[in-house]
Symmetry: C2
Subunit: 333 residues, 2 copies
């Protein structure tokens, strides 16, 4: 890799020492990143939850996304998976495949993004691997969390009659991606910036997820879009669902976008990258949800009802009439 | 991604169901890959060891390497990290970033390679992520193992006077890569095939590593080349070392290559991808090593001695005279 300024570029071990070792400080099990392995044991009465997600430049993030937000999004999408399990986040392993020619400045900003989010979410780097690639930058992150034994939230478990809820607001990230690609031209700059920020920096709902243990009958985080992920939850739980389109929680910017173009409801319900939690709650526990929302300072809205599998998945409008959406989620292949 | 035969290409979820779900059978914590997370707890008295390594097409494997061996190498280089920690391998998380246009046949062969090695090494797929990339195929794998509490082998811990040992033979993989790239022309086909096989399919020394717990003072697996990894062990242990070049264990094919060109000793000592264990043993425990070799059916050879840090790292020839090598390991950046 040609150093951009003619100076000698740090080798793998110098990069690890400069960029990553500081992120491992305070985690005894990271072994100061000297051992190419991390050592860990869950506290008594707990189980370990492991999850991994990858991001490829040009596929999962934009080539001109800032390095800080790429790193933070990578961490956050994995923390969102832990949140949807009701797990407490503890540490992570990081694989960075840097595109040839990546500047040291970009790498430093990437590490700075991780450092900022480590403070916010109380996680520490435990280990990883750093390589170079002639292709697009590719990152993957394995997040490790803990749940009380037997308390992990699952995708299967929803029953007909359960209420269906989501945290936060939907569609912001998908609209933000449109804005970053030059779409949504009629929308004001403040709204465009807000939506772009939601695309770049999801908010993992860790506190809310932890409070849902023992309360939600099924949960997942919305990464492929509401309709696609609802489909997963229903398939694995062997249930159907009815969703009231007018109940979908929208941000002010999302409402403004929808006012410009009613067709954007497709993007809101079908786009991805929300990283909000979709969950089901048995009807006799629904009264507790307002308390969870208040305690975790997180908006939670009921968007529908779990039905029998034979009912399928139905979208209805204000008047209870069926609505058809064309695109039911992001297709990876 | 354009399906090669005009048929509809499976989407992400169909691929997971066909290729990966069978690899997760028998692991309750994999949750049938339905939950985008794995659930795990180490048995009482044990600690969990986590390690991750990535492989990029054109950097860590050749574009025409068979899919089976790419997958198996990916698993094995990570199992080798566990072996060097003395850990027992349990499960793994897999990230596959398939190059656009990868055929379903190639993906199936990749999964078949993993299935074959799962049988050999007793590990099971616990989870992962599968995405596409417009760049070179990129894979990463997080391996999870277990050690008895406090028994994990470390890189730091070697002391002056300890013996230095390696498992297996050195240099085969680096020579094999030369052969695959059209080098080593004078070498017979059987030898070339043997070396290529060692490049493509390393042998993780799990049984030997486990037996070294409580016996070796320091250990690591040789991935960057003997001299580079010896350098790491010495730096982290704050020691020096003397290595007898004529003691390096060579395969028959390695000996034949060296007979053709004495200069290949640089490749043997400096090349990478050996995935043999380099370890140090206090002099009062050296008698046990022959027993470990016999019990684990693994050749183990003493190649040198740990010295004080002030002595540096010395290579000596048959007559005990210093030898200089030009390249002391693979430089990643």
């Amino acid at each position: 890799m040609a150093p951009p300024d003619g100076a000698e570029f740090p080798d793998e071990f110098e990069l690890i020492a400069e960029l990553f070792a500081p992120l491992a400080a305070g985690a005894p099990g990271a072994l100061a990143l000297e051992d190419d392995a991390a050592l860990y044991v869950a506290p008594s009465g707990h189980q370990t939850v492991l999850t991994v997600d990858a991001m490829v430049e040009g596929v999962h993030f934009l080539p001109d996304d800032p390095a800080e937000s790429v790193a933070r999004k990578l961490l956050r999408v994995n923390l969102s998976d832990l949140a949807a399990k009701g797990a407490t986040a503890k540490g992570y392993l990081l694989v960075t495949a840097w595109r040839d020619g990546t500047s040291l400045e970009w790498m430093r900003a990437f590490a700075a993004g991780l450092a900022a989010d480590q403070q916010i979410f109380g996680v520490v780097l435990w280990g990883g691997d750093t390589v170079r690639t002639p292709g697009p930058a590719t990152f993957s992150l394995t997040a490790i969390g803990e749940v009380h034994e037997g308390q992990m939230l699952r995708r299967g478990g929803a029953s007909a009659g359960d209420g269906l809820y989501v945290t936060g607001t939907l569609g912001d990230a998908a609209l933000g991606l449109m804005a970053l690609r030059g779409g949504l031209e009629g929308l004001g700059e403040a709204h465009r910036d807000y939506l772009a920020g939601r695309y770049r920096l999801p908010e993992p709902r860790l506190a809310t997820g932890a409070r849902l243990c023992g309360l939600a009958s099924a949960a997942l985080d919305i990464s492929d879009g509401l309709m696609a992920d609802l489909g997963h939850l229903c398939a694995i739980s062997s249930v159907g669902a009815r969703i009231a389109l007018d109940r979908l929680p929208l941000s002010e910017a999302g409402l403004a976008a929808l006012a410009l173009d009613k067709g954007l409801i497709e993007t809101i319900a079908g786009g991805g990258d929300d990283y909000e939690i979709l969950f089901a709650v048995p009807s006799d526990r629904e009264a507790d949800i307002a308390l969870v929302a208040a305690e975790t300072l997180t908006p939670i809205v009921r968007i529908g009802t779990v039905l029998a599998a034979t009912e399928g998945i139905n979208l209805v409008d204000d008047a209870g009439q069926p609505v058809a959406l064309k695109h039911l989620g992001y297709r990876h292949f």
